[in-house]
């Protein structure tokens, strides 16, 4: 082949043709992929990332398989020549012949092959692949596809929910024919609106707007939620209302005719998910820093994540300088470079220029990361706080601002109690019971000593009784209100105090268990105390002796008062009502049981009304919301006789209701002893009572 003149020129021509065709096929593939992606995006079936994947994949497939859908189409020059000849009249099959001669070296020697190749090369010089294979159509297709894709992505993402079972209406009575629900999450969430038809359950974000459009055979519709009852307004042949989803609950729709006759209710369970605050961590430096020579700069890195979308991420610091009674506080931020790969996960890096702070020995800088999400009015969330302190060699953190310098000793002491308890458990089998009890009591004393140190560190004001009886998460509302300023400032976001309280209480329990020589229980409590201690010291960098929330004795609970106030006090006999939830469950059990053998409309209505009563009694329970939805469906199936296994479904519902009721009811006493047995027991004791005659 090399002997043929102009062969290389002809090969270059085929190379240009090959490149052109590669380009065109790629464009066509991308266009086709864009159309497919646009269709999928419009249906809401794929995310933008997946749409992009579809486009790329389609482009590659089209490029590799070519017109004839065969892999390797570009390898044969003869095939390329035929495509060229098909599109231009000048070749007269000469280019194809030349291409075949080039691919068959044994037949290419001689005058004629050389002439053919030479003339074909001459023709190729005159041919322009761009003209032979114009890109207009491909470009147009790509443009159209891109427009379609952009339009599909730009469309408001509306997810149409599954249409639930048709609502059943009893002839002659008002009834709900269709319920269209549009749930619009808060705009800041970026979530699409959702449309549901005849739903029995709505799950949405707190603050969502729920628009109801009810087609009804009747004069009006009453809407009931946990907030109250309202009458729906008629608009365009339907009754509409808007409900703001602020808490778990329900939506009950009750149709009525002009005479006030009620129709069957339609219940919709409402599950509301709160927008969680963001979580922010200080990745670098992420620890306390002590410098005698302050560096000019240090690198910082912050990470934050949120369940919906982040709004800001900052690194703030407070520089404290001065001494004695005169301190100066400066609040500033470190400039950061944000990396926002998506709305939910952000990271930021930057360089903290410490030289601009002009820190001197004894100065202190407290720094923490702060993030907010997009929820309007949401409080900023802070990471753990760390200190940067400028110290002279051998110095410690300033008194009153640093973590307690003896905190490690406390932790070690608690660890020592644990170690001693473990040793005692190991030796328990070889020791007499009395010795074990004595050793356990000594350990209890050590545990109380460690506990006392922490109580003192927390202010020394906590009574034992208060510690034992108060819940760790229960806050005095009045005191909380007094500390509102601190809360708003975010100073109480820190959980260290609660962890410390938990640690102290675990120590109390451990001490009690040791006193009873219950070593395994004591060990569990001791470890719980240590865990809480470690958490407290990792979260709160400051254990201040002045508590923002002062523990106080609740005098009301102590029943204190003047004696004279009791004179003539009279009240009716106490006769408590059973819990509303139990009463509703019991009534609902009867109503649902009736569905097994009574298919009348009234029984179904009673069951649905009972389900509503149960929802009213406990609207926050997810279990009850789900149960109410199932009861409504079974009732509907029963009255339309569409329940193939109605009795099994009713049995299942009654079993669940019974289980729920059981948890709230005490056990009935078994059959009491007979009269004869009572008298016999008394007579026997009288007979055997020393010095006593019956």
């Amino acid at each position: 082949v090399r002997a043929l003149p102009d062969a290389s020129e002809l090969r270059r021509f085929f190379g240009r043709v090959r490149t052109r065709l590669f380009l065109l096929r790629a464009v066509e593939g991308v266009a086709a992929g864009s159309v497919i992606g646009a269709a999928l995006a419009a249906l809401g079936a794929l995310s933008p990332w997946l749409v992009g994947s579809v486009i790329v994949a389609t482009g590659i497939v089209r490029t590799l398989l070519g017109d004839r859908w065969r892999f390797g189409w570009w390898r044969s020059n003869a095939r390329l020549a035929r495509d060229v000849e098909r599109r231009t009249p000048v070749g007269r099959n000469l280019i194809v012949t030349a291409a075949e001669l080039l691919e068959s070296p044994r037949e290419s020697s001689g005058y004629v092959p050389g002439l053919v190749v030479r003339r074909a090369a001459a023709m190729a010089r005159e041919l322009n692949p761009a003209r032979i294979f114009p890109g207009r159509n491909a470009a147009a297709a790509l443009a159209i596809a891109v427009v379609l894709l952009a339009g599909a992505l730009a469309l408001p993402a509306t997810v149409v929910g599954r249409e639930n079972a048709r609502l059943t209406r009893v002839p002659g009575l008002p009834g709900i024919e269709r319920v269209d629900v549009t749930v619009t999450p808060p705009s800041y969430s970026g979530l699409p609106a959702t449309t549901l038809v005849n739903p029995s359950r709505i799950e949405t974000l707190a603050g969502s707007r729920i628009q109801l459009s009810v087609a009804v055979e009747g004069a009006d519709v009453l809407l009931e939620t946990t907030s109250g009852t309202q009458q729906l307004s008629a608009s365009g042949g339907a009754y509409t209302a808007t409900v703001i989803a602020d808490a778990d609950g329900y939506i009950a729709l009750e149709p009525r005719d002009s005479a006030g006759t009620r129709g069957s209710r339609h219940l919709i369970g409402l599950a509301v998910t709160a927008d969680r605050p963001p979580r922010v961590t200080l990745a670098a430096p992420g620890r306390d820093l002590f410098f005698s020579n302050v560096p000019a700069t240090i690198p910082v890195a912050v990470n934050a994540e949120d369940d919906l979308a982040l709004a800001s991420l900052k690194l703030r610091y407070t520089a404290v300088s001065g001494s004695g009674e005169r301190f100066t506080f400066i609040e500033r931020e470190v400039p950061l470079t944000l990396a926002t790969p998506n709305a939910r996960n952000w990271s930021a890096t930057g360089t903290w220029r410490l030289d601009s702070l002009a820190l001197a020995p004894g100065d202190l800088v407290v720094y923490r990361a702060v993030a907010t999400d997009r929820r309007p009015g949401s409080a900023p969330v802070e990471s753990d706080s760390y200190v940067l302190e400028v110290v002279t060699p051998g110095a410690i953190a300033a008194e009153g601002f640093a973590a307690d310098d003896e905190r490690d000793r406390y932790a070690v002491s608690q660890q020592m109690v644990i170690l001693k308890t473990e040793r005692l458990i190991a030796r328990k089998a070889s020791l007499p019971a009395d010795s074990v009890a004595d050793a356990a009591r000594l350990l209890a004393a050590e545990q109380r000593q460690v506990r006392a140190e922490f109580v003192f560190m927390m202010g020394g004001e906590l009574e034992d009784a208060a510690l034992e009886t108060a819940g760790t998460t229960e806050l005095n509302e009045e005191a909380e209100a007094e500390a509102e300023g601190d809360i708003l400032a975010g100073r109480l976001q820190n959980q260290g105090r609660i962890d410390m309280m938990r640690a102290i209480r675990s120590m109390s329990r451990a001490s009690s268990a040791l006193t009873e020589a219950s070593l395994d229980q004591a060990l569990r409590d001791e470890r719980a105390a240590l865990d809480n201690l470690m958490r407290a010291f990792s979260r709160t960098r400051f254990i201040l002796r002045a508590l923002t929330l002062r523990e106080r004795i609740d005098l009301d609970r102590r029943l204190s008062g003047a004696l004279l106030q009791t004179a003539g006090l009279s009240a009716p006999a106490a006769s408590a009502d059973p819990p509303a939830r139990v009463a509703a469950l019991r009534r609902l059990m009867a109503d649902v049981s009736a569905l097994a053998h009574d298919t009348a409309r009234a029984s179904a209505t009673r069951a649905v009304d009972g389900a509503l009563a149960l929802l009213r009694s406990d609207p926050g329970s997810d279990t009850i919301r789900a149960l109410a939805g199932r009861i409504q469906e079974v009732a509907r199936e029963v009255i339309t006789r569409q329940a193939p296994r109605a009795s099994e479904k009713v049995d299942s519902l009654v079993r669940e209701l019974s289980l729920l009721a059981e948890t709230s009811l005490p056990v009935a006493p078994m059959e009491p002893s007979s009269f004869d047995a009572l008298r016999l027991a008394g007579a026997w004791r009288d007979r055997n009572r020393p010095g006593r005659q019956p």
Partner: protein
């Protein structure tokens, strides 16, 4: 010649007849056996027993005191078995794969409770399979329990719970089924969920924290109606409801239980009144000790010496279930053992013994319940102890066990139409006091002419009678009225319902063997006649037979003489 023989034969008959000879022999007669079946559903088995004994025995269905022996047919001892004499033979039906042998639930319960239902299911030859027990009420399955069958001959205990949807009488049916085979059995019982509440009085001679917090726990419980009197000072009381002015008040008997705070303040007359309440009312009294124990309290409790301790920290007190119902730091308990004492809550001591901190003793028909957990109210937080649950449950149990003015016991609660049942009525005030004048009247509610005659029994204040279940299916009540009190007991009439089939094989075997009999299973019926013959030991009787005392001798006598005459005429001799 032949004529002579004929005449001689006739003459011989005449002569022997005149002589009238007697023949004595020894022989056995067919014994009479009575067959008593335990229940109506044992008809077929009773018939099979009768067929098996048709040769060699005369059978009588039902009790027959003149019978040589009695055959008891069925898995339980029939009611008619009392007072039987003669040999007793038991015939028990073949074991079925699944049999509900016990189904217990309290008959009369407060409505605001969950009712324990206990069943025992006998399973034969189904080891390794799954037993499914379903509790149904009103046609609805309210609970299903699955348990593996441990062996080929097992009695599986099943604990279930029933929550009545409505008040009143409910029939509950347990259906036991082997899942893989479909073998099943069912049994029914009933419960009567009542709206009534336990009347409880809190009486504090002096304000008491312990009593106050126990009262608060009980007041919030819908099982009780709580009245209280707290004497905060001399002549100054705070009350709720209409409590008696003092413990000596007769209205004390209206309460099922009395809780006394600061019992050290009780006077000698108070103690006497409380003891009267215990003995004559059968009431329940709770003493919540909160410090010093007075001699008057000792008189009531029978405790002569107390021990007490003040611990460094509160300890967990234990009950029989191993839980921690109470915590306390200050404890008081009897130093000596008290006979008849039941310990409910104790404090584990270092010597592995338990100090009885909460205990009770019977006093007459009543019960005295004493708490020595002096400062348990300090540790009433739900996280520290079950104080809030312990006291309502304890008072519920105590109140439920206090005898009502009229106590009605029925021998059956689930009956077939026309079935007979026994009623036993105890009039508390008559039974516990010397008052003997009382008139009682019992009728079946909503059934015409249904007066049930009650007869005084040998025990004071106890009346007994029988009644027949009405023909109408459904819940019924038998209502008993005395001069001032009315009480009723519910029962269910349903031909399809039947109670659990108690298996009393051992009792039947013991009963039969004690009377010289034996027990066989249904599958061994073919051996019954031979074994019965041996068991009855038939006594041979001597009989004297007079063969010529029969009118039939006239026939051969006449024929012989007639033949002789005919022969002679033919010969021309006559």
């Amino acid at each position: 010649m032949k004529m002579v023989w004929l005449r001689l034969a006739a003459v011989t008959i005449a002569i022997v007849s005149v002589v009238d000879p007697a023949i004595t022999s020894s022989r056995t007669s067919q014994p009479v056996v009575s067959i008593i079946q335990a229940s109506a559903d044992q008809d077929q088995l009773a018939d099979r027993v009768s067929d098996a004994l048709s040769r060699g025995f005369r059978t009588v269905h039902g009790r027959f005191d003149g019978a040589a022996g009695t055959i008891l047919v069925g898995p339980v001892l029939p009611d008619e078995s009392t007072g039987l004499s003669g040999a007793i033979v038991g015939v028990t039906p073949n074991a079925t794969p699944v049999t509900i042998v016990q189904l217990d639930a309290p008959y009369d319960v407060p409505i605001n409770t969950r009712i324990p239902v206990r069943a025992r299911v006998a399973v034969a030859g189904e080891a390794g399979r799954t037993l499914e027990v379903t509790l149904r009420s009103g046609g609805t399955a309210v609970q299903t329990t699955n348990v593996p069958v441990p062996s080929d001959s097992a009695v599986v205990p099943i604990a279930m719970t029933f929550v009545p949807a409505t008040g009143g009488v409910s029939r509950i049916t347990a259906i036991a089924r082997i899942v893989e085979t479909g073998s099943a059995d069912s049994a029914s019982t009933m419960i009567d969920a009542r709206e009534s509440r336990y009347p409880v009085l809190f009486f504090d001679p002096r304000a008491s924290w312990s009593s106050t917090f126990v009262r608060r726990a009980v007041e919030s419980d819908p099982r009780f109606v709580v009245t209280s009197r707290v004497q905060t000072s001399r002549g100054v009381s705070s009350v709720s409801g209409s409590p008696p002015l003092s413990l000596r008040d007769a209205s004390l008997d209206d309460h099922a239980a009395i809780v006394i705070g600061s019992p050290d303040q009780l006077t000698i007359s108070d103690v006497a009144a409380v003891e009267r309440y215990l003995r004559e009312r059968g009431g329940r009294v709770v003493l919540l000790l909160d410090g010093r124990v007075s001699a008057n309290v000792n008189r009531l409790t029978g405790v002569s010496r107390w021990r007490s301790t003040r611990l460094e920290s509160p300890v967990a007190l234990r009950d029989s279930s191993g839980t921690t119902p109470l915590r306390a730091r200050e404890l008081a308990w009897p130093a000596d053992d008290i006979r008849g004492m039941s310990v409910h809550v104790w404090s584990p001591a270092s010597d592995s013994t338990g100090r009885p901190v909460v205990w009770s003793v019977p006093v007459g028909a009543g019960e005295l319940f004493v708490s020595g957990a002096l400062d348990a109210w300090h540790y009433r937080d739900p996280g520290a102890s079950a104080f809030e649950q312990f006291w309502p449950q304890a008072l519920s149990d105590l109140s439920a066990s206090a005898p009502p003015p009229l106590e009605i016991e029925l021998s059956r609660r689930v009956m077939a139409p026309g079935q007979e049942a026994k009623i036993r009525l105890t009039v508390r005030d008559v039974a516990l006091t010397t008052d003997r004048s009382v008139s009682v009247r019992a009728v079946l509610a909503n059934v015409a002419d249904s007066t049930v005659r009650l007869w005084p029994s040998e025990e004071q204040g106890v009346f007994e009678g029988t009644f027949v279940a009405p023909a109408d299916s459904g819940p019924h009540r038998i209502v008993v009225t005395t001069g001032s009190a009315t009480e009723s007991a519910a029962f269910i009439v349903d031909a399809a319902a039947r109670p659990a089939r108690s298996l009393e094989s051992d009792a039947i075997r013991a009963f039969a063997s004690s009377r010289g009999g034996f027990t066989i299973a249904e599958g061994e019926l073919r051996t019954l006649p031979s074994r019965l013959t041996a068991a009855f030991q038939p006594v041979p009787r001597v009989e004297t037979w007079y063969p010529m005392r029969s009118a039939w001798w006239l026939l051969p006598f006449t024929l012989l003489l007639g033949g002789e005459w005919w022969w002679r005429r033919r010969r021309g001799l006559a």
